[in-house]
C-alpha cells in the first residue's frame, strides 16, 4: 500500500539506463537554470530601496548608481563563469573549482556555503513567491508562511519524480515570466516616450541628500547584489546539456546574463521614475506593474498574469536549489565528505535523500525566519558570495597552472569578479553582522562534520581492506545454541535446523524462577519431544532473561573457540500471519539480538516459523 501511494506521488521506478535521454536543450536549460537569477529581480531591487528608505524616499535615486555597479559585477561574473564552463566541462561549480585549485578546506568552505545557500534559495524564493501571490490577492496576506511551505513541498515531490519531466513542465512559467516582463518594461518605455507616464521621483539623480553615508550605500549594494544569486547555476550543470555541451552552456549563460541585466536595470529605473516606496503588503515590483499597466480591465488582467508568472518563476527558482543541492551533495559524498546515502539514487533516478534534506532544511529556515524575505536575504548573499570569491580565486590559480606567465590576461574577469565578490563579503561581514552571524556558526560546524565524516569513511575502509597474504581459516565444527521458551513447533523446526548445521547442539532455557512448576513442565515436555537432546536450564533471580542468556552464550563461545569451532545462536521466532499481530508477542528475540550484536565471533541466526492463519 505504501508502495502504491509512493508511485502515485512520485511515479513508477525507472531503470538506471533511462538516464541518458534526460539531457537538456538550450531552451529547456534556460528554463531550468536561469530562473534563480532572473527571479531575483522580484526581490533584489526592493532590497536596495528598503535600505535607502531608512534615510527617506529622497535617497532612492542612489539606487541608480548602485544598480550600475551591480551590473558591472554581473558582467564580470558572467565572463568568469563562461571560463569555468570551458575549464570544467564535467560540471564545475565552486566546490570542485575551489577544491582542485585551492585545496580541501577552501573546497569544503565553498561546498558548505553552497549547501546552506541552496536551502536559502528555496526559502527565499518560496517566501518571495508567496509575497507575489499575496500582493495580487490581499485576502491571503496572513498565509504567506504556509504558502511558502506548501510551495517547497510541491517542488520536493516534483523533483522526486525526476529531472526531465520537471524541465519541460517548468518551461511554461519561466517563458511566461520572461515574455510578460518584456511586455511590462516595453509598456513602460512606450509610456515614457509617449509622455503618458508622469515623472514622480521624490528627488532627481545627483541631488545631495543629508544623512546618506558610504556605509548606507555599501549596505544597499551588498543586499542588492542578492539579485545576482544563481548566475553560477549553469556552470554546475554542463553535463546535463546536449552536445556540444560547453558551447551550449556558454551561450545559455550569456543569454541569461543579458536578460537579467535588462530586467534588473528596468525594474530599478521604473521604481525610481515612478517614485515607488516599499509597502508592507505589496511588493515594489507589484506596485510598478500596477502603475504601468493601469486599472483598466486589460491592465488588471495583465497585472494578474504578471504576478502569477512572478510567483511561478520564483517557484522555479526554488527548483534550482532542488537540482543543484543533490548534485553537490552527491559530489561531496563521493569524496567521502558527506554520508554515503547522498550517492543513492531513488526509484526515479533522482538523488532522493538530497532532495528531501533540502526541503527539510528550507522549511526549517522558513519557520525560523517566519518567511520574511528581508531577514533571509543577508544570509543568502553571504552564502552566495563566499563560494563566488573562492571559485574566482580558484580560477586564477587554474590559469596560472595551465598558462604560466600568460595567465594574467585570461584571469582579468576572474580577478575582477573575485575582488567585487570579496568586497560584497567584507561589506556584509562588517555592516550586517547582526543578520549574518548564524552563517559563521553553521559553516564551521558543517566543515567539522565533513572532516569527521571523511575521517570515518577512510578509517573504516582501511580496517575492512583485505591484507596481502590474508588466509582463509578452516574451522573444525560448529556449536549451535538454540534458545527454548515453551516447547512448540517453532523449537522443533529450529532444533532440526541446528542439527543440520552444527556438530554440537545446546538447547538453552532461561527460567525466571517465578514459577517452578512451569519450569518442570517445560523440562519434561522437552524430554518427551527430544529424548536424545539435553535441555540446559539456567535460572535467574530477576525477570530479565537477556543478561543471563548472554553470559551463558559468551562462555559457550569461548569454549567453542578453544576447539576451533564457530558459535551460532538460533533464536526461534514465529511470524504471525498479520504483521500487526507482532505487537501481541514479546520482543525478547529482538532484544537478545541487540545484546549479542556487541559480542564478537557469535553468529546470530533467526529461525522463522510462519503461522498460517
Amino acid at each position: 500500500m505504501f508502495k502504491k501511494f509512493k508511485e502515485i506521488l512520485i511515479g513508477k521506478p525507472l531503470k538506471s539506463s533511462a538516464d541518458d535521454s534526460h539531457l537538456l536543450n538550450k531552451m529547456q536549460a534556460l528554463a531550468m537554470l536561469s530562473s534563480d537569477a532572473l527571479s531575483s529581480v522580484a526581490y533584489g531591487p526592493e532590497q536596495i530601496i528598503l535600505v535607502l528608505m531608512t534615510i527617506g524616499a529622497t535617497a532612492i535615486w542612489y539606487s541608480i548608481p548602485i544598480a550600475a555597479v551591480i551590473l558591472l559585477l554581473l558582467f564580470a561574473l558572467i565572463m568568469s563563469y563562461t571560463q569555468v564552463i570551458h575549464a570544467y566541462p564535467s560540471g564545475g561549480g565552486a566546490y570542485l573549482v575551489s577544491t582542485e585549485n585551492l585545496g580541501t578546506i577552501p573546497g569544503l568552505i565553498s561546498g558548505g556555503s553552497l549547501l546552506v545557500d541552496y536551502m536559502l534559495t528555496v526559502a527565499v524564493s518560496t517566501a518571495s513567491g508567496a509575497d507575489a501571490i499575496t500582493s495580487a490577492i490581499p485576502e491571503l496576506y496572513n498565509y504567506n508562511l504556509e504558502i511558502a511551505i506548501v510551495l517547497a513541498l510541491i517542488l520536493m515531490f516534483m523533483n522526486l519524480r525526476g529531472l526531465r519531466e520537471s524541465a519541460s513542465f517548468l518551461m511554461i512559467p519561466v517563458y511566461t515570466f520572461i515574455i510578460s516582463t518584456f511586455i511590462l518594461l516595453g509598456v513602460g518605455i512606450f509610456r515614457i516616450l509617449s509622455g503618458s507616464l508622469p515623472y514622480q521621483a521624490p528627488a532627481h539623480i545627483g541631488t545631495s541628500i543629508a544623512g546618506v553615508s558610504l556605509i548606507l550605500i555599501l549596505k544597499a549594494f551588498s543586499t542588492g547584489s542578492s539579485s545576482l544569486t544563481g548566475v553560477e547555476a549553469i556552470s554546475n550543470a554542463v553535463p546535463f546539456f546536449k552536445r556540444p555541451k560547453e558551447h551550449n552552456a556558454a551561450l545559455t549563460l550569456v543569454m541569461m546574463g543579458s536578460i537579467l541585466a535588462f530586467f534588473f536595470a528596468g525594474v530599478v529605473f521604473f521604481a525610481y521614475w515612478m517614485g515607488i516606496v516599499p509597502q508592507n503588503n505589496v511588493t515594489v515590483i507589484a506596485q510598478m506593474a500596477k502603475g504601468l499597466l493601469g486599472s483598466g480591465p486589460l491592465g488588471q488582467l495583465m497585472f494578474f498574469i504578471f504576478q502569477f508568472s512572478t510567483a511561478l518563476i520564483l517557484a522555479v527558482a526554488a527548483n534550482t536549489g532542488y537540482s543543484a543541492f543533490p548534485v553537490l551533495a552527491f559530489n561531496m559524498a563521493k569524496n567521502k565528505y558527506m554520508p554515503h546515502m547522498f550517492t543513492a539514487r531513488g526509484d526515479r533516478l533522482s538523488y532522493s535523500n538530497g532532495i528531501i534534506s533540502l526541503a527539510a532544511g528550507a522549511i526549517v529556515l522558513l519557520l525560523i525566519f517566519k518567511g520574511e524575505t528581508e531577514r533571509l536575504i543577508p544570509l543568502y548573499a553571504i552564502g552566495v558570495f563566499t563560494p563566488f570569491t573562492l571559485a574566482q580565486v580558484g580560477m586564477v590559480i587554474h590559469w596560472k597552472k595551465r598558462l604560466g606567465k600568460q595567465f594574467i590576461w585570461h584571469s582579468i574577469p576572474n580577478i575582477l569578479g573575485a575582488l567585487i565578490s570579496f568586497a560584497v563579503v567584507m561589506i556584509l561581514l562588517i555592516f550586517r553582522t547582526a543578520e549574518i552571524w548564524p552563517f559563521f556558526i553553521v559553516l564551521p560546524v558543517l566543515i567539522f562534520a565533513f572532516i569527521r565524516v571523511h575521517h570515518h569513511y577512510v578509517n573504516v575502509a582501511e580496517q575492512l581492506r583485505l591484507r596481502e597474504g590474508h588466509a582463509e581459516h578452516k574451522f573444525d565444527g560448529n556449536t549451535v545454541i538454540v534458545l527454548v521458551g515453551n516447547v512448540t513447533n517453532v523449537d522443533l523446526g529450529a532444533i532440526n535446523y541446528a542439527r543440520s548445521i552444527g556438530e554440537y547442539v545446546i538447547a538453552l532455557h532461561v527460567s525466571t524462577k517465578e514459577n517452578t512448576r512451569k519450569e518442570q513442565e517445560i523440562e519434561s515436555e522437552f524430554e518427551a519431544a527430544f529424548p536424545d537432546l539435553h535441555l540446559t536450564v539456567i535460572r535467574t533471580n530477576y525477570r530479565d532473561i537477556i543478561a543471563p542468556a548472554v553470559r551463558y552464550i559468551s562462555l559457550a563461545s569461548k569454549n567453542a573457540k578453544k576447539r576451533n569451532y564457530t558459535t551460532t545462536v538460533i533464536i526461534p521466532n514465529f511470524i504471525p500471519s498479520k504483521p500487526w499481530e507482532n505487537m501481541f508477542h514479546n520482543q525478547t528475540g529482538l532484544r537478545l539480538r541487540v545484546a549479542l550484536n556487541s559480542h564478537e565471533d557469535i553468529i546470530l541466526a533467526s529461525y522463522n516459523y510462519h503461522l498460517k492463519k
Copy 2:
C-alpha cells in the same frame, strides 16, 4: 546511561523473590485503598450542589435528602463488598465476579469499564487535586491542567518504584487528611453548638421551590453518587493484606465506609448550613473550610494544611488507579484478553506496562477534557456503576449456586446494591446522554479488541502446539548463500563461517550495472581472494538490490529443499566502534532481513565484523 537514569527514577532492579514482604497491614491498607473513596468528598458534594444551582441557591436544601439516599447506597455497597471479600479472598473485583457468575461478555464489560474508569480515577483525582491547590493559591489558577498532568506523572514514577514503598509513603497524607477533616467538622459542630456559626441557608429544608423537578433531583443524585467511587478497591486487593487476609480486609472496608459516611454527611450539611454557593476558582469544600476556620492566623494556617492534605489525598486517590489498573490488566492478560506484555513485571516488580498505559490514558483524558472535573464526573460515574451493577448481580448468582433456595437472605445487600447501582446507570443513561456518550463508543471498541486479542492468542497457541507423533526431520546438508558487496575482511570472515556450517556455499553479488568497471573489479578481487569459490553475479536494471537478491535466494532455497538441504543466508555486516556511526552506512542488510522474513525455510544469519576504532 539510560540504565543509570532509569535507576535514579525508579530504583535498582529487585529480585523476583523480594515480593512476599510487600504485604499491607490494616493501617497501610486504609492509606493505600481508601483514599479514592474518602477523597471523593472533595468533589462529590460540590457536584450535587452544582446541579441544583441550575435552579438557584434556594434549591440547595435538596442536597440533604439526596445525600441521605447516597448514604443508603453506600451502606448497601459496603455490605455487599464485605460479602465479596469473603467469597473471593484471592481478590474479587467486578471483573472476576462478573466473569465467573455471569459469563465472558459481562466480565469483559466489567473489565473494560473498570480499565477506563481507573484512567478516569486518575484524571478526576489529579484534576481535583489541582483545584484544591489553586483554591489555596489563586496565583496558580491558570495552571490547573499542567499541575494535574505533573501529578499523574509523579504517581507513575512512584508506582514504577514498587508497591510497598508507596504504601508507607502514602500513609502520611491520608492520615493528615482524615485527622484534619475530623478537626474541621469538629470545629463546625462546636461552633454550631456554641452558636457562633450563623445559619445562612438560602432556604429551609422542605421549602417548596419552583422549577425543581424529579429529573433535576435524579441528575443531582447520579452525579453525587460519584462520591462512592472507590469503595470496591479493598475487595480487589485482599491478597495484599496480612493474614488473616479476609478478616483484615472486611474490617478495613467497614472502617472506611464509616469515615466516608461521616465526612460526606458533614460536608453536605455544612455547605447547606453556611449557604455556600459554588464559585469558579474556589471549591465548595475550600469555602467551607475557610468559613469554619475563620481568617485569624491559626485559622489560615489550618486552612492551608487542610487544602494541601486534600490535594495530597486526591493524589493518593489517583494512586488507587495505579495499584488497581495494572492488576486488572494482568488478570485480563492472563486470561488472554489483553496483550501478553501486561503480565510482565519490571525491574521493581511492578507491572510497568500497565502503570505506563494508565498514566498515558489519564493524561489523554485530562487533555481532552481540559482538566475540568465536572465534565469528567458523569463519565466516571457510569464507568463505576456499570461494573458495580454487574458485580452485585454476579454475587446474587454466586449465592444461588452455593446456597440454593436459601440464597435470598444472603443476597439482600447485593440485590439492594444492584438495584440502586442500576438505577444510577439508568439515570445517567437517560438524563446525561450528552456527557456520557463517549463511554458507549469506547466500551464496545474495547470489548471487540479483547475478543480479537483472545482469538489471536488461542489461535497462535493452537498452531504452535507440538502434535502427537511429530517427528524430528534429518536434513542431508546445508546450502549457504553469502551476500558479497565489496571484497573485504567482513566477507572473508563470513565465508570462513559459511564453510564451517555449509556443504554448499554460494557467494552472491548483485550488480546495479551503473558501473561495469566496478563490477569487473569486484569479480577479479574476489577471484584473487577466494580462488576456489565461484562468485555468482546477478545484474539488475534498477538501483534496488533487495528484490533481485530475494528472487535468487528463493530459487536457491527451492533447489536446496529438493535435495533435502536447509538454506542459510549470511549477511556480512560490520559494526562500527561507535554506535552513532551506523548512520553513515547503508541499511541494506536490515532491509534484506525484513524482505526475507516473509520467506519460509530460509534462515537468516548475521555475520558481524567488529571494527576496532
